[in-house]
Symmetry: C2
Subunit: 388 residues, 2 copies
């Protein structure tokens, strides 16, 4: 795999294998299109924020699933990468030698695949149960491979993670006495923080109280966490207020989306990925149908609220995709002054970009409405990477 050349700043580099430029208007739709300047700005902004506050940046690749972008994140200072799936790990092992699986690896199929990652790759896994630790340790022993372990804390999302300091201590001790596992620290995902950025103060205070209690309990047992890892894109810009935090793992920030803009963690102009779609029918008065439906946009709500549509037009954010079939998206025109014609191309900012990337095999990188490069979403899917 070729990595993009480094050196330029604040502009996503051109790739040597770039095809001759093509206009966005010539693409077959639906197509996933990324504004390269916005992408470069987003990558730069998070790298700068993390560096400024002395936080290690370990971006989550689930959003882009693309080694090219991961390589750019590393070039801009990321200490390593965060993954959710075994395929993401396999693909990203070509880019970074320091990978975190922010997901419990359960079951022999997944564990075996984890152990076949290149030996020179340093692997850490976030776990929240004795079972996960025991499975990981026994598999690691078979291949005699050191695996780092973060103890996953639940700080309010009620998804995974232990809820009390006592449980965290207990699991950390278990890791400590389970070689070849290495106790690497603690991790949390503040996915419950979905307020607007300016209103996140109380949630951060609560997080500091809970996290502080766990850190102190670990310290008292001689289990001071080497790394305290947390963070998401919605809460990314206030992570420097979290006491003891050493590492952040935002993912969505590379592309951003309608939810992120609504939270105020990016501006509308920072939304780098859009789904290009074509108006295919105007038969029903008061609406248009575009060729991007649930198989292109996903069916993700706005911050838990139904009825706000599944994406909005980039240049007319008041117009939303309000109904969908698999391959149809319906935009109700209301009192808009837009006079759509069949064949018109629109650009839809999706609600949740990570879901959209998982629906496309390739991404078109554009600048000034010209397609400058196209890259595969190499870590999409589940199977082993196909080597030709």
């Amino acid at each position: 795999m070729k990595h993009p050349p480094g050196g330029r700043r604040a502009a996503f580099p051109r790739f040597p294998d770039a095809p001759p430029p093509q206009s966005v208007a010539e693409l077959e739709t639906p197509a996933a299109v990324v504004d390269l300047d916005r992408l470069a700005h987003n990558l730069e902004a998070m790298a700068t924020y993390s560096a400024l506050h002395g936080l290690s940046l370990r971006p989550h690749v689930k959003t882009h699933k693309s080694p090219r972008i991961a390589a750019e994140q590393v070039r801009l200072g990321a200490v390593g990468l965060t993954c959710a799936t075994t395929r993401e790990l396999e693909v990203m092992a070509d880019v970074s030698r320091d990978l975190l699986l922010a997901y419990p690896a359960i079951g022999s199929a997944k564990l075996a695949r984890l152990m076949t990652l290149p030996r020179e790759t340093r692997i850490t896994v976030a776990v929240d149960s004795a079972t996960a630790i025991e499975q990981l340790a026994s598999t690691a022993r078979v291949v005699d491979r050191e695996i780092g372990v973060y103890i996953e804390l639940d700080v309010g999302m009620k998804r995974v993670g232990v809820a009390t300091a006592e449980q965290a201590v207990e699991l950390a001790r278990l890791v400590w006495r389970s070689p070849p596992l290495r106790y690497a620290g603690i991790a949390f995902y503040p996915g419950h923080i979905r307020e607007r950025v300016s209103e996140q103060g109380p949630a951060i205070e609560q997080l500091n109280a809970d996290l502080g209690r766990t850190i102190r309990a670990l310290e008292r047992q001689g289990l001071t966490p080497p790394v305290v890892s947390g963070g998401s894109t919605p809460a990314a810009w206030r992570m420097h207020e979290v006491e003891g935090l050493t590492e952040v793992r935002p993912g969505t920030y590379v592309y951003n989306d309608r939810v992120t803009a609504a939270i105020g963690a990016c501006s509308w102009d920072d939304c780098a990925l859009t789904v290009a779609a074509t108006v295919i029918s105007t038969s029903v008065p008061g609406q248009v149908v575009i060729d991007a439906g649930a198989k292109a946009l996903g069916r993700e709500p706005m911050r838990g609220a139904e009825g706000e549509g599944y994406g909005a037009l980039l240049d007319r954010p008041e117009l939303v995709v309000s109904r969908m079939s698999e391959e149809h998206g319906i935009i109700e025109l209301g009192d808009s002054d837009w006079k759509p014609k069949i064949g018109d191309m629109v650009r839809v900012v999706p609600n949740h970009v990570c879901i959209v990337v998982h629906l496309f095999d390739e991404i078109h990188g554009v600048r000034n409405d010209m397609v400058e490069t196209t890259w595969p979403v190499e870590a999409r899917g589940r199977g082993p990477v196909r080597k030709d």
Copy 2:
């Protein structure tokens, strides 16, 4: 491409390239798993129904996107196949020489790709606008290729299709005088019929009234439709009550899903596709977390209703995936007597199976909990088919 051997009935055939059997329990999760006996039963049931009522069966491939299953549909008597995307057309051209694009082909990229299908493939396109007819005719003229055209009617779904008999006559006339287009008939999608099968009578009556008006108007103008094409899986079993109908296009029936069972268009035991998932966390009391989230199950509602979850356990349908992240599904246990342990495998019947198939690259065909064969979801995605 190899097609499955024919000859056996009521049992999906074994494939010559089948790998050595593997237990479902050994699969890395999440995985899409199809019960081969249920699949065979579903294929057989629809073929029998259509034959019994003298309806031509042109199944929609969007549900399975797999040439193997399409070939089985053809073997069981399908007159051709229905597609929604250009990639589906390209893949299915290897299986059938009679393909319907039940989708307006708009824009030069899509039209050009349509025209590069093998010359021996008979192509029909369903359209609902003069613009679509003009674009299709002018492209077909360039390559001197006959293309069949269905005029798409809106019979109540308010998505695509013309609403009045007059508009249908007008578009049929336009096709008639736009060689090399061939006026092939009319088409509709009764996607608004989502009542339980036993309660669909009034909707069918309304459909007969509307459809009859359009057919008579066309007849009066000497534009008798050679084909009247309609149908969906929810309304599939009452399509023989639609007067004048000659062709049906169900898709979902091959696998079925939770919505189809709720409508009564299949039984729970006809749900052939499940997502195999593993319990990865039990940290939060009263719930378990499985490794199938929105990137494996989609976020499709039950018949428009929110709050009923995104899928249900095959052997405990009262337990549903009530919340999801990208890679996490949360099942609330309520007063269930299930005592889940980390590592337990569950099988989730998704709400909407067509969305799930689009999320996986391969499907495992199982019988008696053994993986008998694995096939690629070859028409998933958008790009051209990769020929090795």
